[in-house]
C-alpha cells in the first residue's frame, strides 16, 4: 500500500515537473525587463537610503547639541555641599555633638531629656519654658471608669 502511494506520488511529481516545464516553455510575449531602468532606479534608491542615514545622523547630532546647551552644566550647577566638602559646617543646622547637648547616645534612655521623668536633678541646660513630660493620658482620652450597677 505504501509502495503504491509512493509510486503515485512519484508519478504525479514527474508529471507535474513535465507540465510545469511545458508551461514555462510555452511561447510568451516579448520580455519587458529593462536593465538600464533598473540601474537608474537602484541608484536613486541607494541615494535615498544614504540621504536617510545622513539625515538620521544629523538629527541625532543636532539633538545632542541642543540638549547639551539646554541642560545645566554638571560642574557649575551641582550641589554646593559636595563641592565644599565636609570641613565647612552648615550655618542653619546646629552642630551635633556631646558638647552641645543635642546628641543622642544609644545608652541614654528615651526619657533622659525629660526633667520630671528623670530620677536625678534636672540638668541646668534644660529649658525652663519647656512643659514637663507626663506619662498620664489627657482627660479626654482617658477611658471612663466602669460603673457597677446593682
Amino acid at each position: 500500500m505504501n509502495d503504491r502511494t509512493d509510486l503515485t506520488e512519484d508519478r504525479l511529481a514527474a508529471e507535474l515537473a513535465a507540465g510545469l516545464t511545458a508551461l514555462a516553455d510555452s511561447p510568451a510575449p516579448l520580455g519587458r525587463t529593462d536593465t538600464a531602468w533598473a540601474i537608474r532606479r537602484g541608484r536613486s534608491r541607494l541615494r535615498r537610503r544614504r540621504l536617510g542615514v545622513l539625515g538620521a545622523v544629523t538629527a541625532v547630532a543636532v539633538g545632542a547639541s541642543v540638549l547639551g546647551a539646554t541642560l545645566p552644566d554638571r560642574d557649575t550647577a551641582g550641589p554646593q555641599k559636595a563641592a565644599t566638602g565636609p570641613a565647612a559646617p552648615d550655618p542653619v543646622l546646629p552642630a551635633l555633638g556631646p558638647e552641645t547637648g543635642h546628641a543622642r547616645s544609644p545608652s541614654r534612655p528615651l526619657s533622659a531629656g525629660c526633667p520630671t521623668a528623670s530620677t536625678g536633678p534636672a540638668t541646668p541646660s534644660a529649658s525652663p519654658a519647656r512643659p514637663p513630660c507626663s506619662t498620664a493620658r489627657p482627660t479626654a482620652l482617658r477611658r471612663p471608669a466602669r460603673t457597677r450597677w446593682r
Binding site: L23, R32, A38
Partner: protein
C-alpha cells in the same frame, strides 16, 4: 571606473538570467505581464546590493530567493490581495497554438488555485528542482514546513486536476450521447468501439 565595471557585470548577469527568472515568475503568478513586473523589481533589488553580491558564489540562488520573496511580499500587501481577488474569476489567457492547450490551461488553473506559499513551494521543488533544504533556505522556513506545504500543494493539485478531468469526461459523454443533433453526429468516433456491436 569601478562603477562602470560593476554596471557592466550587472547588465551581463541580467541579460543572461532574466529569461529564466521570467519563467519562474510566470509559474508563480500565472501572468506574463505580472512576471515582467516581478522580474523588474527583483532586478532593481539585486542592483541595490550588487556591490556586496559580486563576491557571492550562488548568485542564481540569491536572485531566485529575491524573486520569490518579492512575489510573496506582493501577495501579502493589500494591493496584491485586492488584485488577486479580482483575478480569481478571470479566465486565464489561452496558451499558444502548438502546445497541449487543455493540459496547460488545467495546470495553470490548478496552480492559480493554490495559496501563494504552497505555489512557491511546488514551483521551487518541482520546477527549479531544489531539495527540501534548499527550498527551506530560499523561503526562510523550516524543512518540515516545506514538506507539509509540498504535500498539501500536491494534494490540492491532484484534486483539482481530477475534478477537471471528470468534468471534461462528463462533457464529452454528454456530447456524444446526443446523436439526434446532426452537427454533433460527426463528432462521434469513426472507429467502432470494441465490444459495441455485441
Amino acid at each position: 571606473m569601478a562603477k562602470q565595471t560593476r554596471d557592466a557585470e550587472f547588465t551581463e548577469f541580467v541579460a543572461a538570467r532574466a529569461p529564466w527568472l521570467r519563467k519562474v515568475a510566470y509559474l508563480l503568478c500565472g501572468d506574463w505581464h505580472r512576471a515582467d513586473d516581478l522580474v523588474q523589481e527583483s532586478v532593481t533589488k539585486l542592483y541595490v546590493r550588487w556591490s556586496r553580491l559580486s563576491r557571492l558564489e550562488n548568485l542564481d540562488g540569491y536572485a531566485r530567493t529575491v524573486l520569490v520573496n518579492t512575489f510573496l511580499a506582493e501577495q501579502r500587501s493589500p494591493w496584491g490581495r485586492w488584485t488577486a481577488r479580482r483575478r480569481t474569476g478571470a479566465v486565464p489567457e489561452p496558451a499558444a497554438a502548438g502546445t497541449d492547450l487543455d493540459l496547460s490551461v488545467d495546470l495553470r488553473r490548478a496552480l492559480a488555485a493554490l495559496p501563494p506559499r504552497q505555489r512557491a513551494t511546488v514551483v521551487l521543488r518541482h520546477y527549479c528542482d531544489l531539495t527540501v533544504e534548499q527550498t527551506a533556505a530560499a523561503l526562510g522556513c523550516s524543512t518540515g514546513n516545506v514538506k507539509s506545504q509540498t504535500s498539501r500543494g500536491l494534494d490540492a493539485l491532484r484534486r483539482s486536476l481530477d475534478q477537471q478531468d471528470l468534468r471534461d469526461r462528463t462533457e464529452h459523454t454528454r456530447l456524444t450521447a446526443r446523436t439526434d443533433l446532426p452537427e454533433l453526429r460527426d463528432l462521434r468516433p469513426a472507429v467502432p468501439v470494441e465490444g459495441a456491436a455485441k
